[in-house]
Amino acid sequence: MSAAVLPRTDAALSVWRLRWRRFRRHRTGMAALAVLALLGIFALAAYPMQWFGGFDPDATDLLARFDPPSAAHWLGTDEAGRDELVRLMVGGQISLLVGLLATVFGGTLGLLIGIPAGYFGGRVDAVLMRFTDGMMSLPLLPLLIVLGAVDLTKLGFSPEFARSGAAGFWRIVVIIAIVDWTSIARIVRAATLAVKERDYVRAARASGAGAADVMLSHVLANVATPIIVSFTLTVGRVILFESVLSFLGFGVVPPTPSWGNMLNNAQELVTTAPALAVYPGLLIFFTVIAANFLGDGLQHAFDPRSER
């Protein structure tokens, strides 16, 4: 019998199909999904704009500072005469990417801490959860600011790297990930506690499955539901963190644009060019609110008890 004879038929997807059907009825959740898709398309539209439209997000034009919207610059230009629309698109790529990557890394950290804590229980659980509690009781923003202010050369990185845009990008991904994993860890732990007493886990153990085997083949798949919801909500929060840090000057470093650091420039010019302060903020706001509504909709779709 070869694998080809046993294809995963449509029945294989029916759990997810059921959820999708339920999610589709959740109007705000669907709207949120659409908004996020549009924002993603908006951010990616920077590429065709650059390739075919000849727009350059970094091309300055000191003769055309603070231009109002025109045929050449649809949303006008910023304080250095750069095209605002293209910068918003490129900044969107950076902000969204930071949001996704930091959530994935932080979520992985949360899994690595939450699953063993729930599965092994006892002392392992006590140590890991006290650590998580301690982490949760810290003032996140001040901590992020200190981490953002750390001089990378003092950690042994070369000055060239420390000044590069890549360093600014990865630094913010890493520091948000190491700070924002606690809620996922707690959710995963609770889910693991519920799964590990199930008979299918005991059956696997009776067949000689080790802890790692059980965690990978049973626990991980069964904690997926709460994790997906939590991931969605975390992406929203992470994008807020990114914008705050970049805004305060500890995040993505100019000239690389991000929605956060575009607001940094706009703050001082708020009387001269208020529009520059409005656009990036609105985009952040729409992204985060859509992520939150999406998380809410997913929660409804995954929770068989909620019927509304």
């Binding site: 509690d133 003032p139 996140l140 003092k154 950690l155 914008s243 009387t271 706001f285 509504f293």
Partner: protein, 317 residues
């Protein structure tokens, strides 16, 4: 209960100790070098002088022994000298802490009251148009970047309408309460709005659950008036989880306060920490962060105790 409180206090003290070391190490990784900064204003400084200064200040010692010295001084109340303010750190910190606590308490109270009102109204008709509107408002509150909200408030109410001053805590030469209050309006509204969203959702969820519970249905069956059912029976049950969540969130208010103060140029802890990090004021940054941690830990501790106090299984006993 006493044992429980004692254990939580010991835990918090331990977290604070660990954090003091982490922050101490992180501050050492911030850009710049205290001795370089010190001798930068002295054109006659030689490398030998720098080395001598390094020895005097113990900067040639390994990290752990420097931390030990700092900790020993700190427990005796000596947190060093602020470079930016040319004053002892504690003298700079105390008024800032007071300013921040005022901002946090006022906006926290406003957020809680608003959240209770909105949450209860929304819970009366879940899924109705009023609920939808309140939910949208709540989600907006959670999702708006605090600093951008502040920026927009400044843009509209200070720059365009001139209703409120954009920054500071008082107009020089005007000592009136009214002037003082005018300066607090926008920061308080900003910070309160940022908190209200999450709180409203908690109150709403908790109230919906409580209104569906058996004892509320019993109260209805007994013929209690709808107002009494909602405000007395259901509300009392809903209160416990809500208070816990709110108290736990008091600590996270600190991040919001930091941004609000920075945006409205108010001399609180948040702005002080931000300025001290930008200005290489190591002692002030270190102590400010420690106090921020302390405030957060304390509010979590109070939340735990409040929970134990409100839990009916304990109060009824």
């Amino acid at each position: 209960m006493a044992r429980f409180i004692l254990r939580r206090i010991l835990q918090a003290a331990f977290v604070l100790l660990v954090m003091s070391f982490v922050i101490y190490s992180l501050i050492g990784l911030m850009p710049g070098d205290p001795i370089d900064i010190m001798i930068a204003s002295n054109p006659g400084a030689t490398p030998e002088l720098a080395a001598a200064l390094r020895k005097i200040y113990g900067l040639d010692q390994p990290l752990l022994s420097r931390y030990g010295h700092w900790l020993w001084a700190a427990v005796q109340g000596d947190f060093g000298y602020s470079r930016l303010h040319s004053a002892p750190v504690l003298a700079v910190l105390a008024p800032a802490l007071w300013q921040t606590c005022k901002l946090m308490l006022i906006s926290f109270t406003a957020a809680v009251l608003l959240a209770f009102a909105l949450g209860i109204v929304a819970a009366l008709r879940p899924g109705g148009p009023v609920d939808a509107l309140i939910s949208l408002f709540a989600f907006a509150g959670i999702s708006v970047p605090v600093f951008w909200l502040a920026l927009m408030m400044i843009l509209v109410f200070a720059v365009d309408l001139h209703w409120f001053p954009a920054s500071g805590i008082a107009t020089v030469g005007d000592g009136s309460i009214r002037d003082y209050a005018r300066h607090m309006v926008m920061p308080v509204i900003t910070l309160a709005l940022a908190q209200t969203g999450g709180f409203t959702r908690f109150v709403r969820a908790s109230m919906i659950e409580s209104l569906r519970s058996d004892h509320v249905r019993t109260a209805r069956a007994k013929g209690a008036g709808e107002g009494r059912v909602v405000l007395v029976h259901a509300f009392r049950t809903a209160l416990i989880p809500v208070v816990t969540v709110m108290a736990l969130n008091f600590g996270s208010l600190f991040g919001g306060a930091l941004l609000t103060e920075t945006m409205f140029a108010q001399p609180g802890m948040g702005k002080m920490i931000y300025d001290s990090i930008l200005g290489n004021d190591y002692n002030l940054a270190l102590t400010g962060l420690l106090f921020a941690t302390l405030v957060t830990l304390l509010s979590n501790l109070l939340a735990d105790i409040a929970y134990g106090w409100l839990d009916p299984r304990i109060t009824l006993a």
